[in-house]
Amino acid sequence: MTVRVRLPRVLTDTAAVAPRHEVAGDTLGEVLDSLFADAPGLRHHLLDEEGRIRPHLLVFVDSVRADIDTPVRQDAEIQVLQAVSGG
């Protein structure tokens, strides 16, 4: 399945990757693997040492909070958001 992924600009501006991607996958984990195949430098910014979504990030699939195992449908909209924090 092909889905669309939107990444936060504070990440993409510094990592020099596009903020929007079209990639394939049947679960969020597969989608992220496809994303990392295109942009390997994103892996350690989105996943922690144990392969989990970093604790201060939220990922939404079609506006519903998702985890690595969440299934995705064709043309799903996936959005990565960072926590609002800091001074």
Binding site: P8, V10, T14, A16, P40, G41, E49, Q82
Partner: protein, 344 residues
């Protein structure tokens, strides 16, 4: 000094100029903490960044303008239980590039920061289970090499030395009291909150140490340390630097671990011209107004010409071009400063 890199809580900045006229470029990496600067063998600039959201990263640049992030920075392996929280220091020994990180560990790169390998002799040291963090976390923040030896400072663990290229390591803290322990208490092997190390340009086994518990020196590569604080208003602080030509030492004392600001707000560098036997206020130019601000362990840099500067937690930079005789507070203000490097 013509270009100074400034790493802050909110991005990096490049100071360009000389004497009284400085311009600021930046922010570079906006919104990211910039925690260390370094150089690779090919001359590339390195900048370590960090984010509470996105973890750490390393960026490379040939000109400090166009930056490319490396794809595989130092990482703890899955299942280790450790988190890569921050890159604290880079050190190029002429052959290999070293990085000190938190959770505390040492990594080495033989391809100019593209890939990194852990140093298991230190990272899995037999004392590892007893390592504990200081106020700045559990971090390997200072790396020295010379005379076929490697020294690494880890807070709040201590100074470690390797005599075999990093294969095996021994703690070297004899003469330094452990943090939060009486001077005459039984001495543990680890538990020393080292803040900074600087060694002599000619004899690398002569090392000066700014520690949580005071200022110390060794002439035997760290086998024994001696307290040297005559003339200092406080032993606490983070800065220790030795000019490679004259041997002048420089530190910036802070009141204590409880306050971490200058005694009575009198922000001053102190210098020693007798290897630390005695200290005095460094030169002139200091503010008469109270300066209740701190200086972090990576927020200073010096060069062979006698240029030296440090940045404060209040975001200001103090600079000398004559090894501490005259000082100037630069007008630009920055976020909390974590890293400084004089580029040229």
């Amino acid at each position: 000094m013509k270009r100074i890199a400034v790493g802050t809580e909110k991005g990096a900045y490049l100071l360009k100029g000389s004497d009284s006229s400085w311009t600021v470029e930046g922010p570079i990496f906006p919104g990211w903490k910039v925690t260390a600067f370094g150089r690779a063998r090919d001359g590339s600039h390195l900048a370590a960044v960090g984010s509470n959201w996105f973890g750490i990263g390393i960026h490379r640049s040939s000109d400090f303008e166009e930056w490319v992030e490396t794809e595989t920075p130092p990482a703890w392996p899955e299942g280790s239980g450790r988190k890569m929280e921050q890159i604290w220091a880079f050190h190029d020994d002429g052959e290999r590039l070293w990085a000190g990180v938190a959770d505390a560990g040492l990594f080495v790169s033989d391809d100019g920061a593209a890939t990194w390998a852990p140093v298991p002799g230190l990272n899995e040291h037999r004392t590892r289970d007893d390592w504990g963090p200081g106020f700045g976390g559990l971090c390997a923040h200072r790396i020295l090499t010379g005379a076929d030896r490697i020294w690494v400072g880890i807070s709040a663990v201590g100074c470690f030395r390797s005599d075999d290229g990093g294969v095996t390591w021994e703690a070297k803290n004899e003469g330094v009291p452990p943090v939060d322990t009486a001077e005459d208490a039984e001495r543990p092997e680890v538990g020393y909150c080292i803040h900074g190390l600087a060694h002599d340009a000619i004899d690398p086994n002569r090392i000066w140490r700014q520690d949580h518990r005071g200022v110390f020196r060794t002439s035997d590569g760290g086998d024994t340390w001696t307290r040297i604080e005559d003339g200092l208003p406080a032993g606490f602080g983070f800065v220790i630097w030795r000019h490679p030509g004259t041997g002048r030492l420089l530190t910036v004392p802070l009141h204590s671990d409880g306050s971490r600001v200058p005694v009575d707000g009198r922000l001053r560098a102190y210098v020693s011209d007798d290897d630390g036997d005695s200290w005095q206020v460094a030169g002139t130019g200091w503010s008469d107004s109270p300066q209740f601000t701190g200086v972090l362990r990576g927020a200073f840099g010096g060069d062979e010409s006698g240029g030296f500067c440090f940045g404060t937690t209040g975001g200001k930079i103090w600079l000398t071009a004559d090894t501490g005789e005259t000082w100037r507070e630069l007008k630009p203000a920055f976020p909390r400063i974590a890293a400084i490097r004089i580029l040229e």
